[in-house]
């Protein structure tokens, strides 16, 4: 009799423990994230709409981007290309003028020489 009462008490204790364990397991998924959010500081108050940020001065630069990281087209300085283009134009025009002047001078000298030869009636 006493033995049967002890068994019944133990069975009830085990049932209570199992019930407690079930309650803990079922409620854990709901309770743990809430606790985690509480610990981060965005509890129920964070659910309220936030005020719109006011436009202020631009944010301070937190990193410098080297020019080598830009696309190749943006890395090129324009000035050397511009200077090269104009320098080429001037050089080409002066070079051509010199060339024509030199050729004209050569032909002119030969014409003068032949004309003087013809005037003298001799050929050198």
């Amino acid at each position: 009799m006493r033995l049967s009462q002890t068994r019944a008490t133990e069975t009830r204790r085990q049932g209570a423990l199992l019930a407690l364990l079930l309650i803990v397991l079922v409620s854990a998924p709901a309770v743990v994230p809430a606790c985690a959010a509480e610990s981060r500081g965005d509890g129920a108050a964070s659910q309220q709409p936030q005020p719109q940020p006011q436009p202020g001065p631009p944010a301070a630069t937190d990193e410098f981007v080297p020019i080598s990281q830009l696309p190749a087209q943006d890395q090129l300085p324009a000035a050397p290309l511009l200077v090269t283009a104009y320098a080429f134009v001037w050089l080409a025009l002066f070079g051509y003028l010199l060339s024509v002047g030199r050729r004209l001078g050569k032909v002119q000298r030969e014409v003068d020489r032949l004309e003087s030869d013809i005037a003298k009636g001799t050929r050198t």
Partner: protein, 218 residues
């Protein structure tokens, strides 16, 4: 040389001295910035390149059909100027394109047809120099093809999909950019006339030299 030559040459030199100041004062283009200023010498030299090809073609046609040696001398002079202004165009263009497009060269219709026109002008000069007897008429035929290429070069940007700016850019230029462009254009046009006159004079002197040698032989 005619009397008007030296005063006009002096005026042209002053104009070329003033052109950089006008170009520097013109506004920067919004997307291309400083490098767009190549345009003020690129476009006028390209125009003179096409004008040279037309002069060479018309003079060659008159030489072929009428046999005028004066027209042949004019065509020879114009072909040399086509090579000169074509070289300026084909060098300044890629320098601009390198920054604006990110590449030196694109096989675009405008660029390719310009290169073809320049090569025809070179071919004209090479035929004249190394072609032997009859090369003047052969070269005149080439010049006709060079001239036929000119309208193709001009309209190519409006009819084909291309990255080259269209011809409609020029009439829409604001006042300061337009002034710099048209002043540069006037500089190059006057230079073209002066160089053509000098180069024709050189051919006249060569013809005179030939006739002097012939008179000595007789």
């Amino acid at each position: 040389m005619p009397k008007w030559f030296m005063p006009l040459a002096g005026i042209n030199a002053v104009m070329f001295g003033a052109a950089p100041f006008l170009i520097a004062r013109a506004d920067y283009e919004s997307t291309m910035g400083l490098v767009q200023k190549i345009f003020y010498f690129h476009m006028p030299s390209a125009s003179m390149f096409l004008l040279s090809a037309v002069v060479c073609g018309v003079a060659s046609a008159r030489f072929l059909f009428r046999g005028s040696p004066r027209q042949d001398r004019l065509a020879y002079a114009a072909a040399e100027l086509a090579v000169l202004f074509g070289a300026i165009t084909l060098v300044t263009g890629p320098l601009w394109a390198r920054k604006a497009w990110g590449v030196w060269w694109a096989w675009d219709v405008r660029l390719t047809s310009s290169l073809m026109g320049w090569m025809v002008a070179w071919a004209y000069l090479l035929v004249r120099k190394y072609g032997g007897p009859g090369s003047d008429k052969l070269a005149a035929g080439l010049a006709l093809f060079g001239m036929a290429n000119v309208p193709f070069v001009y309209i190519s940007v409006n009819y084909w999909r291309t990255i080259h700016p269209k011809t409609s850019v020029v009439p829409t230029l604001p006042a300061d950019m337009g002034a710099a462009l048209w002043f540069s254009f006037a500089c190059f046009l006057l230079l073209f006339v002066l160089l053509l006159r000098v180069r024709v004079h050189l051919e006249e002197q060569r013809a005179k030299l030939d006739s002097l040698y012939l008179s000595l032989d007789e």
